[in-house]
Amino acid sequence: MATTSSKSSPLAAQPGQKGIDPRGPRFGAAITTVLLAVTVVLGLVGPSVVAGTTLAQRLADPAFWLLAVITVLFAWGAFGGIQSHPYGRFFRAVIAPRLGKPTELENPKPPTFAQLIGFIIGLAGIVLDLIGVPYGLVVAAAFAFIAAFLNSVFGYCLGCQIYLLLARAGIVGRGGKTA
């Protein structure tokens, strides 16, 4: 019974927890958007949209490897934390000093969760392609592209919004501090 009733701010930053510059994840999403667009194009002209290809043909597909790299980078952000992600490090080292201070800081949890959603979608595309489902790779890359585009262009975090729907479906959030 305690958490939602603790004095007016159940979601305030924990002691010692540092906020991040919200422009960092948006910058990373912009790079991801471009890479996913390239994946979609390579996928559409390659063997991943053709039925009856061999595993060797699909493994020689640059779209497969590009999506694999993007998925590994999502995993990095999801499991290592958004602050440790290479795009975030590049942003802090090179871009942020030229922009001036951010007007507000953001909790790193939402973008980290969004990376996990990206990782799951990317992994689904890779697995579908490996077992030879035509268009599996392209459709997964297209969904991830839309999410990354919304994040970078509109600052709208689709992955973050999905959290509540997953919680209501009973997939995440059970067995927590109050439930």
């Binding site: 009733s5 979601l11 262009v153 973050c160 959290y163 509540l164 919680a167 009973g170 927590g176």
Partner: protein
């Protein structure tokens, strides 16, 4: 595949993503007036903070919500500038049951309760300051505390 079809699909994706972004932006923070008397009890929100004597903002958030802290700052500022208006934040991270009973599909979602604890207005998404004032005015106009039922 024909390169023009590939270009067309890519352009289509950009158009779809832009359309989703524009619709989401125009819908976010829109005020819905709530008619009827849906009284909110504090036990439903799992809170022991008191409601305001004039109106109450109830903000539903999760830990994974990137726009919730900004909305909270705006609502707290507004509540502090008006006498009798209070702010309560409800963390849905581990409470999908509360999300279901108030039919919350996105965070932040804000309910504005009138002086009797009935829902007067609802805002889905991060509101602008004008929307918060509009919703608060709807709640302050209602006066259910004086109804004799």
């Amino acid at each position: 595949m024909n390169p023009w079809i590939v270009v067309g699909i890519l352009a289509g994706l950009v158009i779809v993503a832009t359309a989703i972004g524009l619709v989401a932006r125009s819908r976010a923070g829109r005020v819905q007036e709530v008619r009827g008397l849906r009284f909110v009890k504090r036990v439903e929100l799992d809170t022991d903070l008191p409601f305001g004597s004039m109106a109450t903002f109830v903000q539903f958030s999760t830990e994974m919500c990137s726009r919730c802290p900004g909305t909270k700052a705006l609502l707290v500022r507004t509540a502090e500038s008006r006498p009798g208006v209070r702010y309560i934040e409800v963390d849905l991270t581990h409470r999908p049951d509360i999300a279901s009973s108030f039919n919350v599909l996105q965070t932040p979602t804000t309910l504005v309760l009138d002086n009797s604890g009935a829902i007067a207005a609802r805002i889905g998404g991060a509101p602008r300051p004008e929307a918060v004032r509009t919703a608060l005015d709807i709640a302050l106009r209602r006066d259910h505390g004086h109804y004799v039922i």
